[in-house]
Amino acid sequence: MLRIEGLTAEIDGKEILKGIDLEVPTGEVHAIMGPNGSGKSTLSYVLSGREGYEVTAGTATLNGVDILAMEPEERAAAGLFLAFQYPVELPGVGNATFLRTALNAVRKGRGESELDAMQFLKLARQRMTALSMPEDMLKRGVNVGFSGGEKKRNEILQMALLQPSMAILDETDSGLDIDALKIVSDGVNAMRGPNFSALVITHYQRLLDYIVPDRVHVLMAGRIVKSGGPELAKELEAQGYASVQAAA
């Protein structure tokens, strides 16, 4: 369960988040929708611990543990995962090495045994097949020369390997065609269950046809201004954010 209370945060002295209250109970998938500049990405970065964002008030706990005091890697071990809107390319870092290092770091952080190269390969191949990823993507540099869709699939592959209890998907649908969108959504849906929650951040309703959320929240100007069921997404699609703003 992710619980955010009264969270305010600023970057370079400019307040972006102005008091976020949000609860994502274990086993649920929630969506956050909002126009550009509403603070969606800032929320994902603050929760995952990016430098340069200062939390000025409020709390955020994952399964009762305060995550805001943790280093990014500790948050990962605690079960948090961020799928990036723009995954970073790492020339010279082999994807297989990266994935195995990450997996073993997280397993170590959780007090689990590390996997050897053979065990890792077996697991990675299995997960990659489910995401229709060719095996040569293991041999390439992390995200180097990957298409937009391949990068997003690589994010989902990392999520599938690291088995977070709480995943934040930041604009995972951006730059995806319908086929890739479907593969990525299937990957997320396959994770759904009583021990997995997700916060799906998106600008458009389209993604929510594939990953159907339990709740939808509308973020505007640094605050959650409206919450509702999946139908709220359709409403926004039909009427635009302006209607919510007018009502709020």
Binding site: S48, G49, R50, E51, E71, P72, E73, R75, A76, A77, F81, L82, F84, P87, V88, L90, P91, G92, V93, T97, F98, T101, A102, A105, V106, G109, G141, Q158, L162
Partner: protein, 430 residues
């Protein structure tokens, strides 16, 4: 009342005067002349100062002011050797060949201690070095005691050979100046891995004279891993004939001050020279790679990729000169040097220098300086990878481009281990 022993150039010149009748080959007129001429050059120039263009960024003041004695008298006996990188190796202790510690049986060519084989080496000793131009080569010529003399006949595959240099700490500053001669006949090949270790306050001042004949290939990997009290000043002269290849990869990761100076000349058509390397310095250390490449024949290719990683208050230097002579048409030259600064106090000076007199050439160079990418670091950390490990991965990735130029797997493994060992030491200190 006592008089202080002279330091710097005067100290070495005094030592030469005192030792010249006892140095190896002291009864050979040709060698006496060579040494005496070098002494004249060294007396005239002394240690280079920063007023000399080629030494603008590297200050030898601390070397020039020290008082270095000779190594102790050679003591036979067992010694802890570094882990071997090759089955065959020639071991030098304080610059002196130690046949008893070397494993050279079954070689298809000559790999000998220079001091005992000066007559064979006469035609080649001093053939390439320029003591009149480089004071450190003059110092070496004046005082060298020993070195490795490798002579590979035409068409022979020399396989893999390791040159191990160990400097022992006698408890007082000392200097040694080995002279290494490497000759590859037409079509011959050799992979030479050089491992330099040492401790104590010492100056290691080797000079290499390397001749690569037509169609021969020399792969020269260098692991300069002495401790942070050692001054390593090496000068390599290489000449590469038609269709020959000289491939140098240097890891400088350890000494207090490293100068890796290479002069290579491509003298016949379709010769190639690859000079790559990774140099690392931590707090209080200085690393300097200075290359000079002479394209003197048409259709030759040269490739240089140097990476510098600096932490703490350290300084790195890269100077790379490429000369393309009028007759060197169709030259294909490439030079890239990149520095990664891991602290605010680190400093890199980079000076590419292209002199092109031919009109049909392809020559490019580039230089970058930067810190670790914050986005990359954050990305790795969100995947659970601790900060120090994430940094290590990014540094390794930075070095990867240079290391991947090494095709010999044994050599690449040795280089990678040397780089990892350096990084582990930094991580342990931090």
């Amino acid at each position: 009342m006592t008089t202080a022993a002279p330091t710097g150039a005067a100290g070495f010149l005094a030592r030469y005067e005192g030792l010249k009748d006892h140095l190896p080959g002291a009864r050979k007129p040709w060698l006496n002349t060579l040494r005496a001429d070098a002494a004249v050059h060294f007396a005239a120039r002394g240690f280079p100062t920063r007023r000399v263009e080629q030494w603008k960024y590297t200050d030898l003041g601390v070397v020039a002011q020290a008082h270095f004695a000779e190594p102790l008298t050679m003591v036979e006996g067992a010694l802890a050797l570094p882990v071997p990188n090759a089955p065959h190796r020639a071991v030098f202790v304080d610059g002196r060949f130690r046949e008893d510690l070397s494993t050279l049986d079954g070689l298809a060519y000559r790999a000998l201690g220079l001091a005992q084989n000066l007559n064979e080496a006469e035609p080649y000793l001093g053939a390439l070095a320029k003591p009149e131009r480089e004071p450190l080569a003059a110092l070496n010529t004046m005082l060298f005691e020993d070195g490795l003399f490798i002579d590979i006949p035409e068409g022979v595959d020399g396989g893999l050979l390791e040159l191990v240099s160990i400097a022992l700490d006698p408890g007082r500053p000392f200097a040694f100046h080995p002279r290494h001669l490497v000759r590859l006949g037409a079509g011959a090949t050799l992979t030479l891995i050089e491992t330099a270790t040492g401790r104590g306050q010492c100056l290691h001042n080797p000079v290499f004279e390397i001749e690569v004949a037509e169609g021969a290939t020399l792969t020269h990997g260098r692991l300069l891993q002495e401790e942070a009290t050692v001054f390593h000043l090496s000068t390599i002269y290489a000449t590469i004939a038609a269709a020959g290849t000289y491939d140098n990869f240097t890891v400088a990761a350890g000494p207090r001050l490293t100068r890796n100076e290479i002069h290579a000349a491509l003298t016949g058509p379709k010769a190639a020279c690859h000079m790559n390397g990774a140099q690392m310095a931590a707090d209080g250390q200085h690393v300097d790679t200075t290359t000079s490449l002479d394209h003197a024949a048409p259709d030759c290719a040269s490739r240089q990729t140097y990476k510098t990683v600096l932490t703490g208050r350290s300084r790195g230097v890269f100077q790379g000169k490429i000369l393309v002579r009028r007759e060197a048409q169709k030259t294909d030259g490439y030079q890239m040097n990149q520095a990664l600064l891991l602290s605010e106090e680190a400093e890199i000076d980079s000076k590419p220098q292209l002199e092109i007199y031919a009109d049909d050439v392809k020559c490019s160079h580039g230089a970058t300086v930067g810190a670790l990418d914050a986005d990359s670091l954050f990305y790795l950390r969100t995947r659970g990878i601790p900060e120090s490990q994430a940094k290590a991965m990014l540094v390794e990735a930075f070095l990867h481009e240079a290391v991947e130029t090494v095709t010999d797997e044994t050599l690449r493994g040795a280089l990678t281990r040397a780089l990892d060992a350096w990084w582990s030491r930094q991580a342990a200190v931090a």
